[in-house]
Amino acid sequence: MNCFLGIDLGSTTTKAVLLAEDGSILGRGITNSRSNYDLAAKVARTEAYVTARFGLLRAEVVRAAGEPVLTHLLLAFRTEQTLRQLERLGVHLLEDLERAIPADRRAAVREAVEHILARLAAEEEAWFADPAREARSDFFRDVAASGYMRIAEQVSEAGGPSFDTLVGLFDKCILKVENEPMELGFQEHIPAALRRIGSPEAVALGVERATNAALEERNGVGTGYGRARLPFPKEQIRSEILCHGLGAHAMFPGTRTVLDIGGQDTKAIQVDGSGIVVSFQMNDRCAAGCGRYLGYIADEMNIGLHELGPLAQSSNRPARINSTCTVFAGAELRERLGLGEKREDILAGLHRAVILRAMSLLARSGGVQDEFTFTGGVAKNQAAVKALVRLIDENYGQRKLNISPESIYTGALGAAIFALRDVRPDVH
């Protein structure tokens, strides 16, 4: 079957969306962005194909073996991918320490690294086997780093090589793993995944069909912050603003206004009934009012980013914060805390200040029309959403607010639709 790829190469994550010819979503992939842009795009793309093939086998497997088997198979697949990457990490670590560690300490370090690697592999197996397993990050980097650090700390406390030595090795090698080409695709790992769950007969046919299904990529479009560095011809590169507008329209066809507050920038976009951007505004070089500002605040308060919103929502008397200057954020915070203002009140004020900045971009771009779609990392913050809804209500009247849990894929989805539309302008 023909398919159409959209890739959004963002500053922190790279996303891919794969569409079928009728415009339906086949698969989605995400990975952390890295110095090798090509590779980030490739990993996201591979992931999109993996989920697409799982999508293809889903109906068959669920009918033949039930939902739990499908879930189990997917899990097994993820574990195989992780183990493969751990192997590569191990190869790099062992190579690197030969060069980087002085001979007199080398054996001890080698022993420690081998120990850590073995335990990481064992932990991965345990995670797979544990029915009560906790949710974890989708990114190998995060999974490997958290385990490695924990074990390395134990190893060094028990008299092994220093923590810094071990972490230094890891930091170098994880970059290598991330930036080397590696086959993480469906075909490569599905056989092992099947074996891992005991090769149940009932799913064999579905898996075989999904494996052999011809997914022919007819066209691809790239977008995002790093789009200029994507290995696509110029005609296949689109601005993230256009893709974002079209993607939001695809998710919520009634959308007329889109607000995206990401880590580094804020965009206010107006689209017409077909998802075509008619006007947009972006923040200037000043990062005030972007997601990063909340990041600084969280750092300053020594709490997690995800804790900010709930804390702010517990406020009954939001403070009035006049400046969203990231440079002064820390000082202002400390002064206010020093004056005895409550943490939650200050936080509520800060959220409102961030949203006020967005309100001015919205006003510049042409206001807030019905329906209104909010995307980006800050859209997950309930305190920010609350402040936004209130301000829109006061200034523009009631608007239908759309927030998708998949909003991170908005740009990639728009890009995929452009890819489809370039080939099949007739498809609606």
Binding site: R320, A331, S360
Partner: protein, 388 residues
């Protein structure tokens, strides 16, 4: 009225961003009109002579939340036009039938155009104050501008252009200026008696009250102050230079005095005293009003300095006149007139041995810690090493 009552009334006027007192004045008699003006100088006599109430629009301070105003201004433009647009678009200035935009800088100049577009039903005029050194030509030009303004406002108010009424208004504003100068002199001579916060609130009240009422309030305050027997503290005496347009938040003024700096002269609400002498109430009133501005205005960053040594001398002269120990250059962020002048003024201060510090603020600055520290250190340094 007691002093406490006076200050409370002025504070209420200052904090009232809806200009309720102006609304009440307009509503009190049919046909009344109020005319707004932006910093720094507008000829209030002309407005008053047409039976209208002159209303100073000095921004939104630190209590106004900017929702619409930011949509019109880039981040590298000062705060004042945002809050003025906010006031305008939120209906808070609806009691005004016209707006005057003096040539304080390009931002305020262009704000006149913003008003022409956004408020096309209002009377909007840009007041191009005379600049340069050719005083005869400047006087003739400004006289003509005053006549045009008078003609326009008279038409708006439905009255005749009347020289006699203008003379009466001039006399009234001569009294206002005399009072303001007396208040400033009282603070200069006994700053412990006249906290700058109070003087400031009084001056701001003078921007929205009818001049007749302001005279009553201001004179009562002055009388009360003279009874005050508070002891002077061992503070330094400073002049604030550069805060003539976008106003500092009240908290900043308080912070400076609490940090040990008596403010003995300043640029706040400068337009109320920029004419340094009485305007004659005989002769052609337009010519006289123009002459007072052209020949006897205070020196300020908003005017071209024709005297090549003027910039260098200015700070020394002001500090001496106020018997000040030092100068604080306090300018709004992105304020062209104040910030472009600062290196020249500061060089003059340095050459004359007048100690100084500099900082920037915005009308909505919310944190004063850094000002407190700077002003406190400055005051201590003056006391330790200064000539006193």
């Amino acid at each position: 009225m007691t002093r406490t009552e006076i200050v409370a009334q002025c504070r209420a006027l200052y904090e009232d961003l809806d200009f309720a007192s102006v609304r009440a004045w307009v509503a009190a008699e049919p046909g009344r009109k109020a005319i707004g003006y932006l910093p720094v100088y507008a000829p209030r006599e002309i407005i008053h002579a047409c039976g209208c109430l002159p209303v100073g629009v000095h921004g939104g301070g630190d209590q106004l939340e900017i929702i619409r105003g930011d949509a019109y201004y880039q981040s590298y433009i000062c705060h004042l036009p945002r809050s003025v647009v906010e006031l305008g678009l939120s209906g808070r200035l609806d009691s005004l039938s016209g707006m005057l935009f003096p040539s304080t800088c390009d931002v305020i100049r262009n704000l006149s155009g913003v008003w022409q577009v956004l408020k096309s039903d209002l009377y909007v005029r840009y007041l191009d104050l005379p600049q340069g050194g050719d005083r005869a030509a400047m006087g003739a030009f400004w006289t003509e501008e005053l006549r045009i303004l008078h003609r326009d406002l008279a038409r708006l108010a439905g009255v005749e252009v009347d020289a006699e009424r203008l003379r009466a208004s001039i006399a009234l504003y001569n009294a206002v200026r005399t009072l303001v100068r007396a208040l400033y002199a009282a603070r200069r001579d006994r700053p412990e008696r006249v906290p700058s916060e109070e003087l400031y609130l009084l001056c701001r009240a003078g921007e929205v009250l009818p001049p007749e009422e302001f005279l009553v309030v201001g004179r009562a305050y002055l009388a009360a102050v003279e009874q005050d027997d508070v002891q002077a503290r061992d503070n330094s005496r400073v002049v604030i230079v550069g805060a003539f347009c976008e106003q500092p938040p009240l908290g900043l003024i308080k912070t400076l005095e609490r940090a040990g700096c008596y403010i003995v002269d300043d640029d706040f609400v400068l337009g109320n005293r920029i004419l340094t002498r009485d305007v004659p109430t005989t002769g052609d009133p337009w010519v006289e009003l123009a002459g007072a501005l052209v020949n006897d205005a205070m020196k300020s960053s908003i005017f071209y300095e024709d005297d090549p040594t003027g910039k260098r001398r200015l700070v020394k002269e002001r500090a001496e006149a106020a018997r000040a120990d030092g100068v604080i250059f306090a300018a709004p962020s992105f304020c062209d007139p104040a910030l472009l002048d600062r290196p020249m003024l500061r060089a003059g201060a340095d050459a004359a041995g007048v100690p100084s510090i500099s900082f920037k603020y915005a009308e909505n600055t919310g944190q004063f810690q850094q000002f407190r520290e700077q002003a406190g250190t400055f005051s201590d340094a003056i006391k330790l090493w200064g000539g006193r």
